[in-house]
């Protein structure tokens, strides 16, 4: 097991992500943030605190999304869902999806399917803490990336206790 991001580096990476988003969206009236369960919600929670400090005059809209019922490998294993909570309309909004690790792209594909059952956003952007770029199985890329890492396909990259670790097979 190897640490890719220590908790200090993780905080720094989140600060960088927040400033990138802030640059792209000076005002957040038409922007909502959605963390993907479970790692994306951990990252999202920290990002929203930082974003809220930068935008004291407006309430940052933030929800949590669960893809369990939309997985493409559902018949192999029936998993228990996490909480899904989108307390706002996404119709015609810019949705910033937040996840911890971008790997094959299948989670994001499922998350897009979930989103479209809630409405028709004007635009969807993707923000990830760690990008394992060379292993994509779908044509999906992130708009905001904290760190790009080179990994083997069999490796696991996980967010554990505010650190990002790589577990090699």
């Amino acid at each position: 097991m190897k640490t890719i991001l220590t908790s200090t580096q993780l905080t720094e990476a989140i600060t960088v992500l927040v400033s990138k988003i802030n640059e792209a969206h000076p005002t957040l009236a038409e922007v909502v943030f959605v963390g993907i369960q479970q790692g994306g919600v951990v990252v999202g929670n920290d990002m929203i605190v930082a974003l809220q400090q930068l935008h004291a005059s407006e309430t940052v809209q933030y929800g949590q999304l669960d893809i369990t019922f939309y997985r493409d490998d559902i018949r192999n294993e029936i998993l228990t869902p996490d909480t899904m909570h989108l307390p706002f309309a996404i119709e015609n909004k810019t949705v910033v999806l937040i996840d911890d690790v971008l790997f094959t792209g299948r989670t994001i594909k499922a998350a897009l399917d979930v989103l479209l059952d809630y409405g028709r956003p004007a635009k969807v952007e993707l923000c990830v803490l760690v990008d394992r770029k060379e292993h994509r199985q779908f044509p999906i890329q992130a708009d905001y990336v904290g760190l790009t890492v080179q990994t083997n396909k069999a490796d696991k990259v996980k967010l554990v206790n505010k650190e990002v670790v790589l577990i090699s097979k």
Binding site: F69, Y70, R75, T80, D82, D117
Partner: protein, 307 residues
């Protein structure tokens, strides 16, 4: 987490963990039902037959909606309009249906144990939608879900089950479930409609006095008088039953607290429940129906795995 069983034949053989898993999954499906698109693709590769050998409105519609909202393909079978009327056996009928590549069977039958019999002979997952006077597990689960939603918990709740306990599969499933989850249960009704040793056998209190029972409970689940299952006279008239065991507004107002009223439907209005009780703020009868779809989605989803 997975269920400990591949069929839902009754609450009797579920663990406490199974019940908690079904109820927490149902809460997520309830959220799905509030979305603009009230549907998920989870079971789009699954075909389900609804095999109803006995009449049903609520349960059949509820299962069918649950299946459709999970994107499953469904076929419906009603015994009156099928080859069963020509004398085909249950096992033959089901094997014929399964040879058309059906993955799950939802089944209601007037014979207690019919789904258990089927589970020993066919490979598909079976969900009991009511078998004779044995069990109606999804009703027990949706009642529990509704109690939990309304009062915040099951453990420690005092639940009264009122009416025809003898002929009621709803009562039996409710009792098994509530006892497993740590609730206190009292059954109440005329002595002729309460099995003699139910107290010892199932660990419930028995009280023949309705007012005392209602004064004790937090929730009263009022059952339908099942005229179709009575082949002997167990009380003299519906009017007399209603006078002793019917719940009306005056009776509720005379209690020292506000209790929650439930009923699995269909209601015999003016017999076990008066309209001004059934339609009152205290009643969660229509919420039970709404929750039924979410609970059945959870059961179908959790039983749809490969093994």
């Amino acid at each position: 987490m997975q269920l400990s069983t591949r069929h839902l034949l009754g609450i009797k053989n579920l663990t406490k963990e199974d019940i908690s898993l079904i109820l927490s999954t149902a809460a997520q499906f309830k959220e799905v039902l509030q979305r603009p698109v009230k549907k998920v693709p989870s079971l789009r590769d699954v075909t389900i037959v609804n095999l109803f050998y006995e009449n049903s409105t609520r349960t059949r519609f509820s299962f069918e909606l649950a299946e459709k909202r999970l994107s499953a393909d469904t076929i419906n079978f009603a015994s009156s309009s099928s080859s069963a009327a020509k004398g085909e056996t249950l096992l033959d009928t089901v094997n014929n249906i399964l040879s058309m590549k059906v993955d799950m069977v939802v089944m209601r039958h007037s014979a207690s144990g019919a789904p258990h019999f089927l589970a020993q002979h066919i490979p598909a997952a079976i969900i009991n939608a009511g078998d004779g006077i044995n069990e109606h597990p999804t009703q027990g689960l949706l009642d529990a879900f509704s109690i939990q939603e309304k009062t915040g918990a099951l453990a420690g709740r005092k639940v009264a089950i009122v009416g025809d306990i003898m002929h009621s599969r709803v009562a039996q499933s409710n009792i098994y479930l509530l006892k497993k989850m740590g609730a206190d249960v009292t059954v109440c009704g005329p002595p002729t409609l309460i099995p003699k040793y139910i107290g010892e056998a199932l660990g419930v209190n028995v009280n023949y006095n309705l007012k005392e029972t209602l004064e004790w409970c937090d929730v009263a689940n009022v059952l339908r008088i099942q005229l179709e299952r009575q082949n002997q006279v167990l009380f003299s008239s519906l009017r007399e039953y209603s006078l002793a065991y019917g719940i009306n507004r005056n009776l509720l107002d005379s209690l020292h607290k506000e209790i929650v009223i439930m009923h699995p439907g269909p209601i015999n209005r003016g017999v076990e429940l008066d309209s001004d009780v059934a339609d009152s703020k205290q009643s969660i009868i229509l919420q039970q129906v709404e929750n039924g779809v979410a609970v059945r989605m959870a059961v179908l989803y959790l039983l749809s795995g490969k093994n």
